[in-house]
């Protein structure tokens, strides 16, 4: 195997070879591309840890009695699933892997602005991850990923502190990543790359980075306060000392609602790239797309109270938050319409990344529209804390972010590794994922609408059939998640050489070799046109 690598000359001129090939050369590398791969490996690990927890839950729910695990274990399982998937997979997923790899390439820079800070944030991520794993090994935490007070501060006797410290630390990792991206995008663009020539992926990462920086400190401080309440009896959220648990929810959702946009905005950026290349068209309404990204990022900060309609929030606050939640749907809808308009009269190639992107549009639309149900106060009073919420959330996060993440990985895999993968296997996995996903989560909409509450391991027998259907879907979904591991591994061993631009795609990252050299470009590129110049090239040809 080593012989193949040695003889493979594009590889020898790439970052995979030039920076050295000891473990040390990877763990101490400040090359954004290597750090991206460190992130990719670690978030994949956490993804499968979280997926095991999800599988255990679906397995328990096959049986209405939930005999597989006790109520307490079930609580710890969904908490672990939530904590790991939100903070250790979804939030770093696209920004820390694809973003890290592509931001300097796409803006035409040699690295991120602060390479050592970038490596440091990966170590922070790992330290946070170790705390979370330690928490799991010592017996887990049962508060749900939301750590609601007063349960988390007064009643829970599980390892809340360890979990909170883990999330606190990983929060700083995401703050520093966001800071790095913002500075890079502001100060390190190549000559000619002005703001309206940036690819939408960069705009998505930029909007996400802003949200990371303006939301995550609130989470960090709030988790600090939880720790202080548990350790020293500080009474800011503790009702017996005069504090108010709802204040915790205000602070928590001030972060955690925008956190949803941290997860979806870069996904929107990825999908914009994929759609344009797959349809061979310039994006429809580029400026609307950029401003709707920023609009979502901003308005997303004004809607957090829609998580608290039944928490004792004032009626007037609920009304305001409800209206603002409807407004955030407008820029989201603009994006969907623009993607669809881009497809119109395009020369659509149904390669695997495109299939993921098309799946994203459909699932994101379903998830977004059901979000409007939940934003309406009267409906939410009925639907809150049911499986309807679970389904809505997973349509956005799994159907949206994960689909886009995988689509992006497939799209840029040849650039990252310099090799091609089995296109037919990838297409099969994409289709299977779409089917499996819907099979898993659509029944949960129905269950929630029928009134099945979330976070219970037992349920009345009338919900049995739909739960079994959902668990079957989870099996299909699991297969489609495992498939890429195999064909990507095979591509690494024996994939054909990709060449610099296997998709005939536009964008600076495709102008350098695959895999790129250590400093990305042999000479700094000069940009003379906007992104997605597919149409013009074809007309000229």
């Amino acid at each position: 195997m080593t012989d193949v690598f040695v003889r493979d000359s594009p590889l020898r001129r790439s970052y995979l070879w030039q920076g050295g090939h000891t473990l040390r050369s990877w763990l101490l590398s400040t090359d954004h591309k290597r750090i991206a791969l460190l992130y990719a490996a670690s978030i994949t690990l956490f993804f499968f840890l979280g997926a095991v927890a999800a599988a255990l839950m679906r397995l328990t729910l096959i049986d209405p009695q939930g005999r597989l695990m006790s109520a307490e274990t079930y609580n710890k399982t969904f908490t672990f699933h939530g904590v790991v998937m939100v903070w250790f997979f979804l939030i770093p997923s696209i920004p820390a892997t694809l973003g890290n790899f592509l931001v300097p390439l796409m803006v035409g820079a040699r690295d991120l602005a602060f390479p050592r800070l970038n490596l440091f944030s990966w170590y922070l991520y790992m330290v946070g991850g170790l705390f979370t794993i330690a928490c799991l090994l010592l017996g887990g935490v049962d508060t749900g990923w939301t750590f609601y007070t007063p349960f988390s501060t007064m009643f829970s006797d599980s390892h809340v502190i360890l979990a909170v410290v883990g999330v606190f630390v990983v929060g700083f990792s995401s703050i520093l990543t966001g800071l790095n991206f913002i500075v890079t995008i502001h100060t390190m663009r190549a000559p000619g790359m002005h703001w309206y020539r940036l690819p939408l992926f960069i705009w998505g990462i930029y909007a996400t980075s802003i949200v990371m920086m303006l939301a995550t400190p609130v989470l960090a401080m709030t988790l600090c306060l939880i720790g202080l309440e548990r350790l020293f009896g500080v009474g800011i959220f503790d009702p017996s000392l005069g504090g108010d648990p709802v204040l915790f929810q205000h602070f928590f959702w001030f972060y955690s609602h925008p956190a949803v946009y941290i997860m979806i905005l870069p996904a929107m950026g990825v999908v914009s790239e994929l759609i344009c290349c797959g349809a061979r068209r310039r994006i429809f309404g580029y400026r609307f797309m950029t401003w709707s990204l920023l609009g979502i990022a901003f308005i997303g900060f004004l809607v957090w109270g829609h998580h608290m309609f039944v928490a004792g929030q004032s009626m007037y606050a609920s009304m305001a938050f409800s209206i603002l939640s409807f407004i955030v749907a407008v820029p989201s809808a603009i994006k969907v319409f623009n993607w669809v308009s881009t497809l119109y009269r395009g020369t659509i190639d149904f390669h695997a990344p495109m299939l993921y992107a098309l799946g994203f549009i459909g699932l994101f639309m379903l998830g977004g529209l059901t979000g409007l149900f939940l934003a309406a106060v009267a409906l939410d009073v009925n639907l809150t804390d049911t499986y309807f919420v679970v389904a809505h959330f997973h349509y956005i996060m799994v159907g949206g972010s994960v689909m886009a993440y995988l689509g992006g990985i497939h799209f840029w895999w040849p650039k990252i590794t310099g090799r091609l993968y089995s296109e037919r296997m990838a297409q099969l996995a994409a289709v299977l994922m779409f089917i499996g996903f819907n099979l898993t989560f659509f029944p949960q909409y129905l269950l929630g609408y029928m009134g099945m509450p979330r976070r219970y391991h037992q349920y009345p027998p009338q919900f049995h059939a739909l739960n079994v259907l959902s668990s079957i879907g989870a099996v299909v979904l699991a297969i489609s998640y495992l498939m890429p591991l195999f064909y990507f591994a095979r591509s690494l061993r024996s994939g054909a050489s990709a060449g610099p631009n296997p998709w005939q795609a536009a964008g600076l990252e495709w102008m350098t070799s695959s895999p790129p050299p250590e400093h990305n470009f042999v000479e700094t590129p000069v940009v003379t046109e906007g992104p997605y110049a597919y149409h013009e090239h074809e007309e000229q040809a």
Binding site: P115, G235, T524
Partner: protein
């Protein structure tokens, strides 16, 4: 001149711009960090006006005001230090930074004296809280916030002092010149941030009571 230029930047101005923007973005996150506590303070004060006024009356207005004056002066001296290095006066710049750090230590000592007094008066929730009366419970909320806010701020001062001493040592060794002084400027920004946080803590903690 190019000894300080990292290889991924094109030229020193670009590097400087990146460093400054990065620092200001970091300041934004720090402001928000304290902003949460400010929000908690405002909400709790809205709910318990009497308890907060009482609690504020138990704090030491004179010491608090002196601390504020000390911190404000230190911010000025740090800014002067930056000016000195721009004028290529390394010795006086180094001196200014050391004085700034010393004032930071003075602040910490003064605040430690307050903590000791409060311990004797029994004002520390869960550790030693000896207050009785109608507002004792809501006053406890005030003191919880007081300790979280001032504790976190003191931690920032401590970090700042260490940072300043490192910068002072680097200045003494001649690492900085009118051509390159970014770390010094960034340390100054951090120190001013600590200043500004205290500017808002002061009226909230010491001036919420009335008619001294």
């Amino acid at each position: 001149m190019n000894a300080h230029l990292a290889e991924h930047f094109d030229d020193p101005p670009q590097q400087k711009e990146a460093a400054m923007l990065g620092m200001w973005a970091f300041i934004a996150t720090e402001v928000l960090f304290f902003g949460v506590l400010l929000a908690a303070y405002i909400v709790c004060r809205w709910r318990f006006p009497a308890g907060f006024a009482d609690g504020s009356r138990h704090t030491d207005l004179l010491l608090g005001s002196i601390e504020t004056a000390v911190l404000l002066a230190s911010g000025c001296i740090m800014a002067v230090g930056l000016r000195e290095i721009q004028l290529a006066k390394q010795r006086s710049a180094c001196l200014a930074i050391v004085i700034t750090a010393a004032l930071g230590v003075a602040f910490l000592v003064l605040h430690g004296m307050e903590y000791v007094d409060e311990y004797h008066e029994g004002l520390i929730p869960t550790v030693r809280y000896l207050q009785n009366g109608t507002d004792a419970d809501s006053m406890e909320v005030f003191f919880c916030l007081y300790y979280v806010i001032t504790g976190l701020h003191s931690l920032h001062v401590l970090i700042g002092v260490v940072l300043l001493l490192v910068i002072a040592e680097r200045t003494r060794r001649g690492h900085f010149s009118p051509h390159y002084y970014t770390p010094l400027e960034i340390a100054g920004l951090y120190w001013s941030l600590v200043d500004i946080v205290w500017i808002f803590v002061y009226p909230g903690i010491y001036l919420a009571g009335h008619s001294a």
